[in-house]
Symmetry: D2
């Protein structure tokens, strides 16, 4: 079965050695801590912080998903070459409208060679 | 076959009467006229300008695609409820890296009740 | 804007010369002429009949869609390598349940190098 | 984070009580134990065996994925209504070409109300 790589795996690994491998695959969520009920809310997801991921035809980030708990909110798909076949940090700005209750967001990204990766959870209070 | 609704269809229609119908389904591309070779380039796509599209379970915007001529660059999918089941203008910020040559971008959006809609083309010079 | 290649384009082209090019990209729908109301109904979509399409990393069939008039029913996505990087005729069997009224099905396929292609329409009577 | 429900969860649950809940969400893989190198290979994925899943606008199976270990091979997306808004067992026949080495297939399905579900693994020997 597809293993889902998580941030906690990274922390338990001999991470200094493989820091680049983990960093370049792990999505992060960047958004406010609070969202206004019924209003448009920006959630940026970026894959990697310090290390770049290839955009090669046989090795690229295929999709980025945004979840609220068990609910998939949105997903962006890429084809190889969308990033000019240059290494980078795939990134997308989703605009959602929060439900009535607070959210617990996570992002997932799929690398065509190294599988499925999950972000840390990000709690967002809806006010 | 699925008809693809285009901006030119709108212009040839008795548009005052159906302005809201066309407006709320048509994607628009918002980006600079020039992009720097090899650098990250923001392309915003928004569905509708003045009129809002529903986010009902049986009537929602299912996807937004970004194309460069015949090449699909990226696509964002939504589930019903991503916009809190409230009417709005679905919108996404794609970040791409342009190829060596100038681009001719178009966006497409799919409404689950009213089919496939295409934006005006947006020429982007790569410098 | 993305041109949508259709079977009629092929017929109007000097088709003997480019028969292979058109054939290997065009999806065809294979299903019964009639479907039973409320029952599972098989729709096979295959890309190409005589000529094979590559499954190269920089040249592959990215998706196959099944439409009923303006309504997208289902879509299958592929990654490069799903067909062992060997030329072939990508094919998928969808199982749908028809609505109350007769259907007019079409399929679309996306080639990462040669764009979007549309099948002939297939009328299906619901009895 | 999105929990991934697995067959083993079911077995450890008081499963008689919730058998229907687990059954109607869990994808199963139906294919031969062996595949011929370089030849087309059929993999059927079906969601549920005895209990039917709704196809309601606010509660439907959104996608079925087929994985070989960490590699996503193919994915089929559905819109609400593809199954005539009738309860059923969503099912798709993928045709893949196996790589040189043996495969370990799993399927995943996404319910818009109850999250992500994973099949048992299916080993396929490539001969």
């Amino acid at each position: 079965m597809p293993r889902v790589f998580k941030v906690t795996d990274v922390e338990n690994d001999e991470k200094e050695l493989r820091k680049d491998y983990f960093d370049r695959h792990t999505p992060i969520i960047i958004c406010s801590d609070t969202a206004n009920k019924g209003e448009k809310f920006l959630v940026k997801v970026r894959v990697g912080t310090q290390y770049l991921h290839p955009d090669d035809f046989n090795h690229f980030i295929s999709y980025i998903q945004l979840w609220n708990r068990e609910t998939l909110l949105a997903e962006t798909r890429y084809l190889p070459g969308t990033f000019g076949n240059k290494p980078g940090n795939p990134e997308v700005d989703f605009f959602i409208v929060p439900p009535e209750v607070s959210m617990n967001l996570t992002a997932m990204s799929l690398c065509t060679q190294h599988g499925l990766w999950m972000s840390d959870a990000k709690a967002v209070k809806v006010i």
